[in-house]
């Protein structure tokens, strides 16, 4: 029988460990241009992968998620802040949801 509190503590542990293991294992500066470039591209890569295609099912209905996604892309393209982009996507998904019978 799984105890929810113990499960949460274990989740916290395996979330914390990846965050700090590299600090314990690698103390020297990395010189390789390949690895340095790789690490600089990682955030863009991982956020792209986390977003697409999952955003399409994020609202439970692709008919509200796709307009929300398009609005988010448009606002981000215009370099609006994180909050403005997020709220724009939420409002769009909500409003299109009202139009769907």
């Amino acid at each position: 029988m799984t105890n929810a509190f113990i499960a949460v503590l274990l989740m916290a542990l395996v979330t914390y460990l990846p965050r700090v293991l590299p600090f314990l294992l690698f103390r020297k500066e990395i010189k390789s241009p390949f690895i340095k470039s790789f690490l600089k591209y990682v955030p863009y890569s991982v956020l792209g992968v986390l977003t697409f295609p999952d955003i399409i099912s994020s609202t439970g209905d692709y008919r509200t998620a796709i307009p929300g996604t398009l609005v988010a892309l448009l606002l981000a393209y215009k370099e609006k802040s994180l909050v403005v982009v997020a709220i724009g996507a939420i409002v769009t998904a909500f409003l299109t949801g009202l139009l769907i019978p």
Partner: protein, 244 residues
Amino acid sequence: MSISNNTNTQFAYGFKRGLPIAFGYIPVSFTFGLMATSGGLPVWLTIFISLSNLTSAGQFAGTSLILAGAGYLEIILTTFLINIRYMLMSLSLSQKIEPGITLVQRLIFGFGITDETFSVASLESGRLSYPYLIGLITGPIAGWTMGTGFGAMISSALPEAIANAMGIALYGMFIAIILPPAKRLGPVFIVVLASIGINLVLLYLPLFSFISAGFRIIIATILGAGLGAYLFPIAQEESVEEHQ
């Protein structure tokens, strides 16, 4: 950012940089609080999940497994796989922080590494100080925890239509982070497209259906960023932002 700047200034600057993340977290964590308590978890435990895990995908997956009655090993493996990406991020950050930051300080600010705090920190110019990093993670920790609390307490009162629409918030934030640099810089644009392309192939080709969601994210990230590093290596001491 230089070492000579005083601690308060650095903390205040970091805190300011973390505020948009904190506000961005509120709708997302609100949704999480809503989901977890409506699924049957007590309010205090739902808030404790956000405070102790401070992550989106990992705790969403772990919590849904708890609600589904899964075993410890399944919960640990799934959460760990989703969170392995933090190793890449802290490895990257370990190259960018001031070398004088002690191990204990690393163990403390490391708790606050998320996709968003990492993105903001890694796009700063110059070395990162410990007060800056603590300032940066303070707002997001508070926003993530408080948003969860609001959602957990309000869960029965909010109309379903609004709760559903809020599910897109996290992804909207991700788009807001990646699109502006991808628009300006060809290599970043190609890395993002390639990574997403690899992700779609792994997700939809039946040949790769044995790969779990967590591993899929890891593989697509490593291949996409690796391709970028191979095709468009960045010269030493040059940041992505300056790379044209």
